[in-house]
Symmetry: C2
Amino acid sequence: MIEQPKPSALSEQVQNMIEWLASYGGDGKGGVTRLLYDPAWRAAQQAIKSKMEELGLLARYDDAGNLFGRIDGHDSKAPVILTGSHIDTVIGGGKYDGAYGIIAALIAVEYLKTYYGLPIKPIEVVSLCEEEGSRFPITYWGSGSITGVKKREMVRGIKDANNVPFEQAMHAAGFGTMQHPEPKRIDLECFIELHIEQGEVLEREKKSIGIVSHIVGQRRYDITVFGESNHAGTTPMQWRHDAMFTAAELIRLLIHRANMEKSGLVATVGRIDVKPNVGNVIAREVTFSLDVRHSDADKIHAFCEECFGEFEKIAAQHGTSIVCEKWMDESPVAMDSSLSAAAENILKKEGISYKTMTSGAGHDSQVFGTYCPAALLFVPSRGGISHSPEEYTNAEDLQRGVRLLIAMLHKLAY
Amino acid sequence: MIEQPKPSALSEQVQNMIEWLASYGGDGKGGVTRLLYDPAWRAAQQAIKSKMEELGLLARYDDAGNLFGRIDGHDSKAPVILTGSHIDTVIGGGKYDGAYGIIAALIAVEYLKTYYGLPIKPIEVVSLCEEEGSRFPITYWGSGSITGVKKREMVRGIKDANNVPFEQAMHAAGFGTMQHPEPKRIDLECFIELHIEQGEVLEREKKSIGIVSHIVGQRRYDITVFGESNHAGTTPMQWRHDAMFTAAELIRLLIHRANMEKSGLVATVGRIDVKPNVGNVIAREVTFSLDVRHSDADKIHAFCEECFGEFEKIAAQHGTSIVCEKWMDESPVAMDSSLSAAAENILKKEGISYKTMTSGAGHDSQVFGTYCPAALLFVPSRGGISHSPEEYTNAEDLQRGVRLLIAMLHKLAY
């Protein structure tokens, strides 16, 4: 184990920097909104660029708007150890989601540079331009551009809620015109991301760090039940083809089965839309969302097949019909086992409690994970709350994450 | 049985008058919109007033906007035989709902006057000003004003969707200023209403006339499930308090139990509102409507009590909570059995098929029924469709209803 910074000093530093970064796009009520290429986003990236330069890092953008701060290694030809997270937020999001991974990387590199000088391999801190999909209907634009998973033609024609085309917003922010280098990188050794959990597993199990083994795969469906509208008073029960009744049966079945599974599968119906949605009219059409996640794609497949088979029987009984439209099918992504083992060793030596777990939420690490070894490390989220001004991680937990990152980078780059 | 008009001539007359009245407020696409006191409503009432005068009836409004056409009896002190229905419609409604009862009454009185001269007791045709509640949040304003169930102070402060106060609209149409007599009547012997079924019982059972024994009672509830919002990916199933899951269980229970009942009870969940209603967020709050109807108030009560008892158990299992807010509780209303028997006798003699049934929808007859003997008589609705431009009753069925009304009025007034 390397010489460790004083926890109390580190706690204060990380908290101060969380507040500093949250001031860009802060709404004065604890919420933060930084949408891709908008003024708050630009100001935040510029502030981080200045901070990088202050710390003696070589700072530069790529043409997508990702920001890098590089500390060169003795072996300048060696592949790069990349660490960071995303700068964008949801609308009215918290101070920690994404921001924490960038701040932790800046602090870690500053510390290593101060105490250990230049590394052998270059380290780069990255402030990824976009992950959330909260302005335009595209996610992982930052990590996707770096890894080549997202291509420029994918944003042509897409617009934000105010009808601003993606490329117009990109140009206005100074990107997409080849003033900066191409985003695609071929010189990465690995990617390490520190992130808040956004769930309450660590808090409930009283663990300080989560080592992510897999980011779950997920399928999303829109399921529509077609019945027959009729008068609530004049239509006897036996003649009804009530889309709401069928939908209730299907939702109950889905959640009940997911509850019975003990494999960690999660299934959620969060949205429902009813036509005509009037109290005294039998529903003719009900559409509901289905979100199913697991670290094993086969488990997701089996769950859906089994439920959809039952759907047909229920619909036949009710005289209704069902259409299941799958609009997302993402495979699970494994994190790199030797990076995870390195994290585990460090935590064991330090006596910091941890849990190996899956991530039920998507992260940039899943994009990097299909391209280079990647590690995703969690710190606890109070009450599991995220994407909200209530998002919070205490300073103690924040500094433990930074110390882990320092030790990981030291092991990998020095 | 009295001498009957020729069915073919009657069919043509009733169809012509349906089209004539539908031209007031017609949208050119088969739909009709006449909202209380609006220009189409005023034009329709004026047209009926002129028609009444043409037929030699003494026509007058009351101060609520109800329109009466009177044929005096030899015994002018005798209580009045009142017949008619409502002139107002829902938005984009059909040509038959309400209108048919007014038209049938006009034709019947014209026929009786022509062939039998003056009756012994006075007969009045009424075009009731409002039943649907489609402009202002009040229903049965017409029949309620006549029977004294609805009082003037009940409309103070209520507004339409454009924020027009009820009384302002009333004054603009020339009512509510005591230019016309007080609506409250104390001189009614009975009320007879001919109406389309708005259900498909008569059509399915191939009956020409429905004799309504009861108008069902109904309760309406808003049922809210309170759970806990959380991330669809990061929250294991066992820690969830999913308001959507609870709601699905409750809706399924309600409809399943109603299906098991063989007493004619109907229960409908037609509306659902979810917070936040986002596919990847576990619902924190779900509100759904419940509409329960039966001709026996005790059955409604027992059904609700039984289901709500189960609700508590389900919520306890899910760690959610439930609030059931009852906002309507209308008692069933019996129609007058001797008027129904009179109708039955006429139909038997004429060899017209009929069915004694309950009405699952509300009608002005239920307001009159608490105040004086009332009869509600149905003709079939094609496919049970109502409140739609698709609303339709064939001319054959329409004329059978008119013939029944002629015979009833003859029996009662001559």
